[in-house]
């Protein structure tokens, strides 16, 4: 594979910043809602802020090649910190702000971080807690001054003080900064991102400027992103997607990135900003749909009738319209009427009126959820990617959007499937290496540049669309040799609004069984409507009526699983509703909310045994970790119920 030549004038972020500060000088680069008002910074202002911070960090002694950890919620200041670190020749390492102190300490230590830029006191505390084991940390810079007054400020610096220091020393420091920025090229490290770690410890993925700028350029072209687009930055800054959208594509195209006031105000802020380009995990779309459905149940009879009437029509013609297929005139007119009366106002309420391109990825999305958005005329598409690929491996072009595939290989990405069904790819976006971990690097990326994804899938004949079955590690065989793909069933179950999370077991066993996590919002609302009193999550989860309704959902899923010849063995025979929500703080799911099967299997071994030994209830005690790292335990007696299954169809030849 020959390396595409990236314009050497635009092969690093400091260079892109310099270009944007001239080309889009007075266009907004970043917005943030603070004190109830949208504050905005133009590209030239952003450049000024970034340089001041960079100069300040030089004054504090930041060296080229140092790792700078950035921890906090999405704020323009922290995005500037990333570029400021790059300008100094250092490498930004964004971390998940909700990591526990131990997780954070591990990453800080592994990366040998010297400078930390923290959003607030909470993050500073986590770093200070671990500092005894972290001799490498020299300086901490914090953004929000609240609660910081009493700290020992020997190595603690307020963000604005660092900037002031930088501005003051600008004659002395500017030549050094210029020299550091000039030394960078397409192959210098752009950022180091830690994987969420579905299996084992997180790994530091080293990405070069070439990786990120290539991915940003080709994806911007793919969806025709321009300077006038608008995005909302609300996904974790440590996640590769956010880095590509809020830094990569933002710098490449010059569009404006808006940061919400707080995590809770995200949906109102999204509505105010009217993003045109939007990215969210399936869970987000599920959540919005659930809340729409809950609110519709409270609406007047007329509105309920209108909702049902027009949604039925949208399901019929919405998708063909979006895909540009021919639709009868009468149906078109009815859809237009629906748009005025219902679709338009609904899209406005959920903040998606202006969404031109929307993506979902990370997990499979329920067909009905996907259908709902597309039939409303929201161009929601799926993409398949991972950190190591700078996101893009496959994505759906406009007009070829389907629910069961993830699209065709992204431009410039080669994809092949090996004999065992595992997906491999090769592209300019493929990562450089895992930091300080040559074994893992060698395991994942071969000398020719092919990277193993760890996912199993196949290309559909005829269309060339890629279908993902499951994580290669999770796909296996049941005792009778039929195929076991837990995620296939889990995704079907998770479509029901009252099921938040589920884990299906059955590898090497006669039958499949499942753990269910209920969605407290949906089930709580249902309980209220049906006069069911409950005092806690645990009590609600164990309620016989809840069991009854979950059971009926599973039976429905069994029916639909039975129709798939290859996977009909995955029907669920028994299930239980977990007494606690699976939580990243307990290590049961990752920070990006992917299930960690092995940990769950160990932790709940007694419950799994109950599922298979015919018990009707199991008494158990579970350790829980609170947000601040303290531990406690929950005792519960969990009921187990049987479910009706459908006779398997004869295996297709």
């Amino acid at each position: 594979m020959t390396a595409t030549v990236i314009d050497s004038d635009l092969d690093t972020f400091p260079k892109l910043l310099a270009r944007n500060a001239v080309k889009f000088a007075n266009a907004p680069a970043y917005r943030e809602k603070e004190f109830g008002i949208w504050q905005s910074w133009t590209w030239s202002q952003a450049k000024d802020e970034i340089e001041a911070l960079a100069l300040g960090m030089l004054a504090l002694g930041l060296n080229a090649g140092d790792h700078v950890a950035i921890i906090g919620r999405n704020r323009p200041y922290l995005y500037w910190a990333m570029t400021a670190a790059q300008c100094c020749g250092a490498i930004p390492v964004p971390l998940y702000e909700d990591s526990s102190p131990e997780e954070m300490a591990y990453v800080l230590k592994h990366a040998g971080v010297r400078f930390v830029i923290a959003g607030d006191q909470e993050q500073v505390d986590k770093v200070l807690d671990a500092q005894d084991e972290l001799p490498t940390i020299d300086e901490i810079i914090y953004l929000d001054k609240r609660g910081m007054r009493k700290y020992d400020h020997k190595h603690l610096n307020a963000y604005e003080d660092v900037q002031a220091e930088g501005r003051a020393g600008h004659y002395r420091l500017e030549p050094i900064l210029k020299e550091r920025s000039a030394a960078l090229n397409a192959d210098s490290t752009c950022v180091m991102l830690y994987t969420s770690g579905t299996t084992g410890r997180p790994k530091g993925v080293v990405m070069s400027n070439r990786n990120i700028i290539w991915a940003s350029t080709s994806s911007s072209e793919f969806d025709a992103l321009t300077q006038t687009d608008s995005v909302m930055a609300y996904l974790p800054m440590a996640w590769v997607g956010d880095f590509i959208f809020s830094i990569g594509q933002c710098y490449w195209t010059g569009f404006c990135v808006s940061c919400p006031e707080s995590a809770e105000t995200m949906s109102t802020d999204l509505r105010e900003i009217g993003a045109t380009y939007f990215f969210a995990p399936p869970r987000f779309f599920e959540g919005v749909l659930t809340s729409v459905m809950i609110r519709m149940k409270d609406a007047s009879a007329l509105k309920q009738w209108m909702f049902k009437y027009f949604m039925d029509h949208a399901k019929k013609v919405g998708r063909p319209l979006l895909d540009g297929k021919s639709v009868g005139l009468l149906d078109r007119l009815k859809y237009m009427l629906g748009d005025i009366l219902m679709y338009g106002p609904l899209k406005n309420t959920i903040g998606m009126s202006r969404v031109r391109v929307g993506y979902t990825a990370g997990e499979a999305i329920g067909p009905e959820i996907f259908e709902f958005y597309r039939s409303l005329g929201i161009n929601l598409k799926q993409l398949y990617g991972q950190t190591e690929a700078s996101v893009y491996i496959a994505q759906q072009p406009d007009g070829e959007v389907r629910i069961d595939t993830v699209g065709v290989p992204s431009p410039g990405v080669e994809v092949r499937i090996d004999e065992s069904g595992e997906i491999f790819y090769r592209s300019e976006g493929a990562f450089v290496e895992y930091y300080n971990n040559p074994e893992s690097t060698a395991d994942t990326k071969d000398p020719e540049g092919w990277v193993a994804t760890g996912d199993a899938g196949f290309f559909e004949e005829g269309t060339g669309q890629l279908r993902i079955i499951d994580r290669a590690k999770d796909v296996g065989k049941m005792a009778d040799g039929s195929m076991f793909a837990p995620k296939f069933v889990e995704n079907k179950l998770k479509f029901f609004p009252d099921i938040l999370e589920t884990v299906v077991f059955g590898l090497g066993r006669e039958t499949c069984t499942a753990f269910i996590n209920i969605d407290l919002t949906a089930v709580g609302n249902w309980a209220e409507r049906n006069n069911i009193a409950y005092a806690s999550y645990q009590e609600l989860a164990g309620h016989p009526e809840v069991y009854k309704s979950i059971k009926s959902h599973i039976e429905e899923v069994n029916k639909s699983v039975a129709e798939d010849a290859m996977l009909s063995g995955c029907q669920i025979y028994r299930f239980l509703i977990l007494h606690k929500e699976l939580d990243p703080d307990d290590g049961e799911i990752t920070r990006t909310r992917k299930v960690r099967r092995r940990i769950i299997e160990d932790k709940y071994a007694d419950l799994i045994e109950g599922l298979y030994n015919g018990a009707t209830e199991v008494a158990t005690e579970t350790e829980v970790t609170y947000e601040d790292g303290r531990k406690g335990s929950i005792k519960a007696t969990v009921k187990i119920e049987d479910v009706k299954t459908v006779a398997r169809k004869a295996q297709a030849a």
Binding site: E34, F35, G36, I37, R146, G147, E261, S262, E264
Partner: protein, 272 residues
């Protein structure tokens, strides 16, 4: 702690100044019932002062006396070195004393923002005519006050409920809004009547954090009534203990904890 000195610095680096308020020999009677009898204590600048006691001890009455809602039959209140004349509660609010209530007293149909804006009322100077004309002074005043209110909203992390009618909020958040309204008045002395009553552990932790932060960030002097002993002992600098309208203890949390009269009042004593 050195109680005799005019001012001192606490272990966590806060400066506690001279007394801002002195309550001297207060007696309050309702007909034949003596709610408070001959109580004296002081509140120092910058401290968190707790008033505790069993039910019916006279805690809320004491707060109402400080607040000017009740007028005691005997005794004096000195505020900022001056003896206070009998005043109406709104005049006391103008002096820089704000409070929250045991049973939430918000305007249920109004939004969080509007409720907190009412806390700025004593600071608004424009008259009804200017308000009606709006352009000019009234508009400037409104945006100035809105700025202060927005900082309070940011401080209490309630941006997400800015526009929500208060009546729809859960109890813990309503309590926080009420604290917000008191803070919007930018008080010198903040009176909190059972800020944590009816809250769960997490809400209590949040509220404790906010009380400490208010005291630390703005240097606001705080007097609070609270039943949760753990909270009181954790966050307050000094505690005064009332029982049946009498003062039975006064001092640091440790002193109070080891005071035999206090232990008896809380755990009960054997009567012959």
């Amino acid at each position: 702690m050195n109680a005799t000195a005019e001012s001192y610095v606490t272990e966590d680096g806060r400066t506690i100044g001279a007394p801002v308020m002195e309550v001297k020999n207060i007696t309050l009677k309702f007909g034949g019932v003596t709610a408070i009898s001959n109580i004296s204590f002081d509140i120092r600048e910058g401290e968190i002062r707790a008033i505790i006691g069993p039910n019916g001890a006279g805690k809320s009455s004491m707060l109402n006396v400080i607040n000017g809602f009740y007028h005691p039959q005997e005794g004096e209140i000195w505020f900022h070195g001056e003896k206070r004349k009998p005043m109406k509660p709104y005049q006391i609010a103008q002096q820089g004393i704000a409070r929250t209530f045991q049973n939430i007293a918000l305007f249920k149909g109004m939004s969080t923002l509007d409720n907190i804006m009412t806390g700025r009322f004593t600071h608004m100077k424009t008259n009804m005519l200017k308000q009606a004309i709006w352009k000019g002074p009234a508009e400037r005043e409104e945006s100035l006050n809105r700025d202060i209110v927005e900082h309070v909203i940011d401080f209490l992390e309630i941006q997400a409920i800015r526009k929500t009618p208060v009546g729809r909020l859960p109890y813990g958040l309503q309590k926080r809004v009420e604290l917000g309204r008191a803070l919007a008045a930018q008080p010198k002395l903040l009176l909190l009547d059972e800020p944590m009553a009816g809250m769960n552990v997490e809400e209590k932790e949040d509220m404790s954090r906010f009380i400490l932060d208010v005291n630390d960030e703005f240097g606001t002097t705080i007097a609070l009534i609270e039943h949760d002993m753990g909270v009181v002992m954790d966050i307050s600098d000094r505690v005064v203990v009332l029982d049946y309208g009498k003062k039975i203890g006064d001092g640091t949390p440790d002193e109070v904890r080891n005071n035999q009269d206090v232990i008896d009042a809380y755990l009960g004593v054997a009567h012959d």
